[in-house]
């Protein structure tokens, strides 16, 4: 379309091939949440997976920490245009959590403490693409950033990485979550710039 703003040169903070289109790099870690951050004590925390047949598996905080832990180095991309490159996390792979889960569903809804939901296709959660993360940069995840634990699906825009994660429900079809029903894209792939619906 090409509307040129004469006199606009930009700061070229986006010349980096690690940045998806329209993203710029930030060194800080902005907080973006729809509302206030809920308080969840580790002792009250659990993570569940519920299948379409109603079967439910759940892990307490201690059980969760006893699972194999992995370190993750990844870039994250927020729909509001910032990206943070090379962040480090520690958590449990969803492959581990889904190991004994029987399902034919292709879709999921992630549920957070505080009521937030986001929809993620199951294939985006498996094969080393997603984690339940509880450490950021070597420190326990701050509450503002989703502590005790958040979902981490870094290949999608960061609103899909639900903070204060409580569990994942397998769904018979794709049901729009919170931001997805408020004007944001159902998939949210930053490389295709799927920002808004």
């Amino acid at each position: 379309m090409g509307i040129i703003s004469s006199g606009f040169h930009g700061k070229r903070r986006t010349g980096n091939p690690a940045l998806p289109p329209g993203q710029y790099e930030t060194a800080s870690f902005p907080v973006l949440t729809a509302g206030p951050a809920p308080y969840i004590a580790n002792a009250d925390w659990e993570f569940f997976i519920r299948t379409e047949t109603g079967q439910r598996r759940a892990w307490s905080w201690e059980e969760f920490l006893a699972l194999p832990q992995v370190d993750i180095q990844t870039d994250i991309h927020c729909v509001t245009s910032w990206s943070k490159l090379g962040t480090s996390w520690r958590g449990v792979s969803l492959d581990t959590l889904f190991e004994d889960v029987e399902t034919t569903s292709e879709f999921t809804t992630a549920h957070s403490y505080g009521g937030y939901t986001t929809n993620v296709p199951l294939q985006d959660l498996l094969d080393g693409q997603a984690w339940v993360a509880w450490e950021f940069g070597g420190e326990p995840l701050e509450r503002a950033h989703g502590g005790p634990a958040r979902l981490l699906v870094p290949h999608l825009y960061f609103w899909k990485s639900a903070k204060w994660i409580n569990g994942i429900e397998l769904m018979p079809h794709d049901v729009a979550g919170f931001w997805e029903s408020n004007g944001y894209h159902i998939n949210g792939d930053p490389w295709r710039e799927e920002r808004y619906s």
């Binding site: 509307i3 930009g10 710029y24 902005p30 949440t33 245009s81 701050e142 004007g183 920002r195």
Partner: protein, 245 residues
């Protein structure tokens, strides 16, 4: 659809403060916006380089023109250009208006508490304007925290509305410098001052908080601690300092 880039023409540019400007944009086929929504603006340099930033809509009209107010950030990539260089008659690209959550609708029945820090007033002003233009009788209250009187956006309009509107109360809070004759010295906003100047929790207000990230975080924490239900608080963070060091 609202998600495609479309052309907007700059139809006005009026300084709001020394470092900010209100810009009127005409967008063909636009049919107004909801109060509280934002647009994305895309600037393209002559070699094709682009930068995109979000700006809240300050107005809540029903036609093809909307206004934004941009505050210049020192060393910013986009805001200095919008405040200093963009001219009436120029074109740029916008996406939106977008957002269906941080919005106020004239059919909303509850009283409303607005809390603005600095340029965070912009989407809240849109709500105030929509409310004033509507028949909606509910009570609105604005707490506007700013550095000094000179940094206030929409000064005349807020002054007039604060005095004349039967359904809006405006409270200013100055952190660095107060106007002449102001009853108290400038100071940091504290939980006590904030809570003393907003609608009480038992009035069950809908609450909108907007500003830089730290401001929003802090104000929100105070409100939650004071017993305002988390579900009644909606926040919009403009960015800036925040989070993990």
């Amino acid at each position: 659809m609202s998600t495609l880039w479309r052309v907007a023409e700059v139809v006005s540019g009026v300084p709001e403060t020394e470092s900010s400007r209100t810009i009127g944009l005409r967008v063909d086929g636009l049919n107004g916006n909801l109060a509280g929504q934002h647009i994305d603006i895309r600037l393209t340099a002559d070699d094709g380089y682009t930068a995109v930033r979000s700006y809240s809509v300050a107005t809540a009209g029903m036609d093809e023109i909307l206004e934004i107010t941009v505050d210049e950030l020192a060393n910013g990539e986009v805001s200095p250009y919008l405040v200093r260089d963009l001219m009436v008659g120029d074109q740029l690209e916008i996406r939106g208006p977008v957002g269906g959550w941080f919005v106020w609708r004239p059919t909303d029945p509850n009283p409303v508490q607005l809390i603005a820090g600095g340029s965070g007033i912009v989407p809240l002003m849109s709500m105030i304007r929509a409310h004033e233009a509507s028949e909606n009788p509910s009570q609105f209250r604005l707490l506007y925290s700013l550095k000094s009187p000179e940094t206030g956006f929409y000064r005349e309009e807020l002054l007039t509305l604060g005095q004349e509107s039967p359904k809006l109360t405006v409270d200013h809070f100055y952190t660095r410098k107060v106007p002449a004759g102001w009853p108290s010295a400038p100071k940091r906003l504290t939980a006590e001052t904030l809570l003393a100047n907003i609608l009480p929790a038992d009035a069950a207000p809908d609450i909108f908080i907007c500003g830089q990230t730290m401001f929003v975080e802090t104000a929100t924490e105070w409100m939650v601690q004071a017993g305002y239900p988390t579900g009644s608080i909606k926040t919009e963070r403009f960015g800036g300092t925040g989070g993990i060091r």
